[in-house]
């Protein structure tokens, strides 16, 4: 009998189940610099990693309670982010490895760990530094501007010079002005810049007793436009001329808005059309219709893809930054002038950085390099500086 049993073991492929070693050094920690809801896990491979075919991550609320399977990996994996945690709830984790024959080895249970939101994202420190430096430049220039705005030179911007003339033209023709703020929202910088141009246009319209029609895409922008125009009419001493129904909502659909504004242009036949703000595919439709009714058109947007259409179809076009410079150019108030001057200084700093670092890189390419590392001091500096800019 013993002989038969031994013969069976020697003759068959039977191999007894070997114990499997679990993964080691399981580290579980809250994800840094996030808004909460995530915990990171990492572990070292099992000493028997060659045999492992499945990795399972399990989570439980108690160390001796039930553990739920979070994820299963069929390839060697040594880290996992659990993005399904509830903040400030204590969790326990373990990782299981399984071999082909179903032998399971569980790691030690690690916990309790909690996820929580963080007030500061230290990874974005460079953004904070740049923003603070920019803010400081702007504040300093605002202080300078408050002392004497006449020393603050701004170069001529043709499109903005034409605003008063364009309003006057509509007045002479006895036609209204149509002002479109585009299809941006109040959180778009172009829409904010457009509102400051609207202030000037509305003031002139009130002075010349010309009607101003403003069809809107977004109800909140419409409210801001109504406030801007009302304020301008009150400031000019003509609140009686302000008509709230002329600053109206059309629709929140892009081409619906284009069709609506086109219709208004055809029926009202404005003498002057302002297209200032965020415009997309509807830009050429609006500009062409304005041209077809014989209106003088002054356009401006920060959307680079739409500017070519404005150039082709409008009388004057404000290109991106010129739109943002409009409020400082038109009003010359210290805050706006300071912002513009701060922005100009930032541009010069950017130009200097681009030129300096590129020169570092060029010298690094020309100078002889270390044979082993294929680098030299200049090329190392070039890589370091470039990485710094891209890190955040």
């Amino acid at each position: 009998m013993v002989f038969l049993v031994l013969l069976f073991f020697f003759q068959s492929d039977y191999e007894p189940l070997k114990p499997l070693s679990p993964v080691t050094n399981l580290v579980v920690e809250d994800v840094e610099n996030d808004a909460g809801g995530s915990i990171d896990l990492s572990w070292k491979p099992s000493p028997d990693s060659a045999r492992v075919v499945t990795y399972k991550v399990l989570r439980g609320l108690y160390p001796d309670g039930e553990f739920t399977e979070l994820v299963v990996f069929k390839v060697p994996t040594y880290s996992f982010r659990d993005a399904t945690t509830e903040d400030r709830v204590e969790y326990f984790y373990m990782v299981q490895v399984i071999d082909e024959r179903g032998v399971v080895a569980s790691s030690e249970i690690v916990g309790p760990r909690i996820s929580k939101p963080h007030w500061f994202n230290t990874g974005r420190l460079a953004v904070l530094v740049v923003a603070m430096a920019y803010a400081l430049m702007v504040i300093l220039y605002i202080e300078f501007a408050k002392r004497d705005t006449s020393k603050m030179y701004i170069r001529r911007i043709a499109g903005l010079d034409q605003i008063d003339e364009a309003v006057g033209r509509a007045t002479e023709m006895g036609k209204p002005i149509l002002y479109s703020l585009g299809i941006g929202f109040l959180t778009d910088v172009a829409t904010l810049a457009s509102l400051s141009i609207l202030k000037r246009v509305a003031r002139r319209a009130a002075e010349y007793e010309t009607r101003i029609v403003i069809p809107n895409y977004d109800p909140i922008v419409m409210t801001a436009a109504q406030e801007t125009v009302r304020h301008a009419f009150v400031q000019t001493g003509r609140p009686d001329l302000y008509a709230e129904d002329d600053v109206t909502f059309v629709t929140n659909d892009q081409f619906g808005y284009a069709a609506g504004v086109d219709g208004i242009m055809l029926r009202e036949r404005p003498g002057t059309v302002f297209l200032q703000g965020s415009f997309f595919a509807e830009s050429l439709i609006l500009a062409e219709t304005a041209h077809s009714v014989g209106a003088i058109t002054i356009a401006g947007t920060d959307q680079a893809t739409q500017l070519p259409f404005f150039f082709a179809a409008c009388d004057y076009t404000l290109i991106g930054e010129e739109l943002f410079a409009a409020s400082a150019y038109l009003d010359r108030n210290p805050q706006m002038l300071g912002s513009l001057k701060g922005e100009d200084l930032a541009k010069i700093i950017i130009v200097v950085i681009i030129l300096l670092v590129s020169i570092f890189g060029t010298i690094g390419e020309i100078l002889p390099k270390d044979a082993a590392t294929e680098t030299n001091v200049m090329s190392e500096w070039f890589v370091k500086l470039k990485d710094f800019l891209g890190r955040y």
Binding site: E86, R88, R124, A126, V130, A131, Y134, Y153, I154, R155, L186, T187, D188, V189, L192, I220, T223, A224, Q226, E227, V250, T251, N252, D253, F255, G256, Y257, A259, G260, D262, L266, R267, A304, T305, L307, P308, F309, A312, E321, E322, L340, K341, D344, K347, I348, I350, I353, I354, L355, V357, S358, I359, G361, E365, I366, L385, K386, L389, G390, Y392
Partner: protein
């Protein structure tokens, strides 16, 4: 094809032709299509706002978070529920302008909040998402060793990119008159701007032509073809 499908095709085709009739001149057919389009899209926006913004993101979200707090004691649920009260109040404040001039000024608060939020997000988003990556992408060595044809073209590409970016930035520099050296550089900048606009113009026109082809394809194949198929099937 069912009669209902055919009817839908005819409505879509008639409205398409009505909108395209604007190419000739303003006419009653265009006016009708325009008003239908504006009316339907405005109505859709209102329904969308009521259903997906107010009901799903505000009322249902508030209810589920509050239930999570009351039934499971989830403090994050309570915080989420309380946070939803802030936009609700801001939204209600926006409506005060229609109540009367005495309290209408309160509607400026949510507007100020929205503008402040936009500016704040714009500055950090602009620095992190646009400014720093663009500066990094512009910086390249003006010479690549060892000397070869491919490296020479890479160097020319880098030179053009740096020249383009720097001269365009100088064009948008407002603090000095564009005369002398600054004038020359800014003139180079406007050339780069116009070349990029030309390329963008061509690309966008091609995209618009493909949209037109899509619409003409609908008229010929689906509308006329579908109608013929329907008649033949009778």
């Amino acid at each position: 094809m069912s009669f209902a499908n055919l009817l839908g095709l005819w409505v879509a085709a008639t409205l398409t032709i009505a909108i395209l009739s604007f190419l000739y001149r303003d006419n009653p057919l265009y006016k009708f299509a325009e008003h239908v389009y504006v009316g339907v899209s405005a109505a859709y926006f209102i329904i969308y706002s009521a259903k997906f913004t107010m009901e799903l993101q505000l009322i249902n979200e508030f209810k589920s978070n509050l239930e999570a707090y009351l039934q499971q004691g989830s403090t994050s649920g309570l915080v989420e529920a309380l946070l939803l009260i802030i936009p609700t109040i801001l939204g209600i404040l926006m409506l005060t302008r229609w109540v009367g001039p005495k309290i209408g000024w309160i509607s400026r608060w949510p507007i100020a909040f929205t503008i402040g939020l936009g500016a704040g997000l714009g500055i950090t988003g602009g620095i992190q998402g646009v400014l720093l990556p663009q500066v990094q992408a512009t910086i390249e060595p003006l010479w690549v060793s060892p000397f070869s044809g491919a490296n020479l073209w890479a160097a020319v590409g880098s030179l053009l990119m740096i020249l383009g970016v720097v001269s365009t930035l100088i064009y948008f520099y407002f603090s000095r008159p564009h005369r002398g050296f600054i004038g020359v550089v800014s003139r180079i900048g406007i050339i780069f701007i116009m070349v990029s606009f030309g390329a963008a113009f061509g690309a966008t026109v091609m995209a618009r032509v493909s949209l037109l082809i899509g619409r003409l394809y609908f008229l010929v194949n689906e509308w006329i073809g579908g109608t013929i198929d329907f008649i033949q099937a009778l």
